[in-house]
């Protein structure tokens, strides 16, 4: 019975879905074009600022971006060792 219905009914048009998906995706991709890698830049600058005060392992600085439908979140995860030394620059101050 389902098969029969499927034969009779016209398949729903998928082109409008394709069009909408493309428009959303390209609006996003065009915004990024020509810019340096945003997360890379953020990570380097955050690392530089924090390193002025605490000695850090650069590999323990993780910056993630999660793009949601309405808002995006930026997650910065910096692991600081418990016996972290203050950096020389901070100590000298």
């Amino acid at each position: 019975m389902m098969n029969l219905l499927r034969l009779i009914s016209r398949p729903t048009a998928s082109a409008p879905v394709a069009r909408e998906r493309l428009q959303i995706l390209l609006a996003h991709e065009r915004g990024l074009r020509g810019q340096p890698d945003l997360l890379g830049v953020l990570r380097a600058e955050i690392l530089a600022v924090v390193s002025r005060h605490i000695v850090l392992d650069p590999d323990q600085v993780i910056v993630k971006m999660d793009r949601g439908k309405h808002v995006s979140t930026l997650e910065v995860d910096i692991e600081v060792p418990n016996h972290a030394k203050r950096s020389i620059a901070a100590a000298a101050r």
Binding site: A15, L22, L26
Partner: protein
């Protein structure tokens, strides 16, 4: 004045080589002096589509490296006397192509031809960049399908930033060529429409090449579709596109196959 036209797409398999050959032939048929250059180093195919695969002696890289003179590497078409092919190398490393070398060759070709058609490799790497580097205009070959449209958008971004013209602050003229278009499927809403594609890519339309068996038949025998069957639907669409490139105003239509009764009956069921 010579015009350098890059045929590009980003995505592979959308019909760049087929279109380069068909457009080159159609331009030559109108009396223009044309050279088609294959930039797909390592994966050359324009020679095969043009039916000149057994006549390749020297190639683009031989000329870049000074091993051969340009005149030695150019292959004249046996059917159209004002059509020439500059093949890519099949064996060399693609890094052998240099910006300076390509620039010198294009400059020399500009003095000898009316049209220089550069068949770009797929992708956005060095070969694709060099194919578009010295272009005055670009034909962006796009299938009515999401991945192809996305890649075309990416390529348009590169045309606007990485070409010599763009770096000089000039505008590179862009033309969208839609290939493998099936009007029946588009009418049923199963395929992105022409309007959708043009709205998304925001560039003018050069032509609509219908999906057709004539295209495969032409490449099978090494004769571009505009030469092999000039009356076929895709050939008429390519010829119209060329006339638009030359500045004529021609109403945009999707040429249709002239089907026999049997094929029409069978075709409807298979669609």
């Amino acid at each position: 004045m010579a015009k350098v036209l890059v045929v590009t797409s980003g995505k592979g398999g959308v019909g760049k080589t087929t279109s380069t050959a068909a457009l080159g032939v159609a331009l030559a048929q109108m009396g223009e002096r044309v050279v088609v250059i294959d930039f797909d180093v390592g994966l050359r195919n324009l020679d095969l589509v043009m039916g000149a695969e057994r006549r390749v002696v020297f190639d683009l890289i031989n000329v870049v490296q000074g091993v051969a003179k340009l005149a030695q590497a150019l292959i004249r078409d046996k059917r159209l006397e004002n059509l020439w092919l500059l093949p890519a190398s099949q064996t060399r490393d693609k890094d052998a192509l240099t910006d300076d070398g390509v620039g010198r060759i294009i400059a020399e070709l500009r003095t000898k031809f009316d049209w220089i058609l550069c068949d770009s490799p797929a992708g956005i790497e060095r070969g694709a960049l060099l194919a578009m580097r010295y272009a005055d205009e670009a034909v962006i070959v796009t299938n009515p399908e999401v991945s192809s449209v996305r890649d075309s958008d990416r390529i348009i971004g590169m045309l606007d930033s990485k070409t010599v013209k763009a770096e000089r602050g000039e505008r590179i003229e862009k033309h969208i060529l839609i290939t493998r278009y099936d009007s029946a499927r588009a009418a049923r809403g199963e395929m992105l429409s022409i309007d959708d594609i043009l709205e998304i890519l925001a560039a003018p339309l050069l032509g609509i090449i219908p999906e057709s068996q004539d295209v495969l038949r032409a490449s099978n025998v090494g004769s571009p579709v505009t030469l092999n069957n000039a009356a076929s639907a895709p050939a008429r669409a390519y010829t119209d596109a060329v006339r638009r490139l030359m500045g004529e105003t021609i109403t945009m239509t999707v040429p249709v196959e002239r089907k026999g009764l049997m094929r029409r009956l069978l075709g409807r069921r298979a669609a």
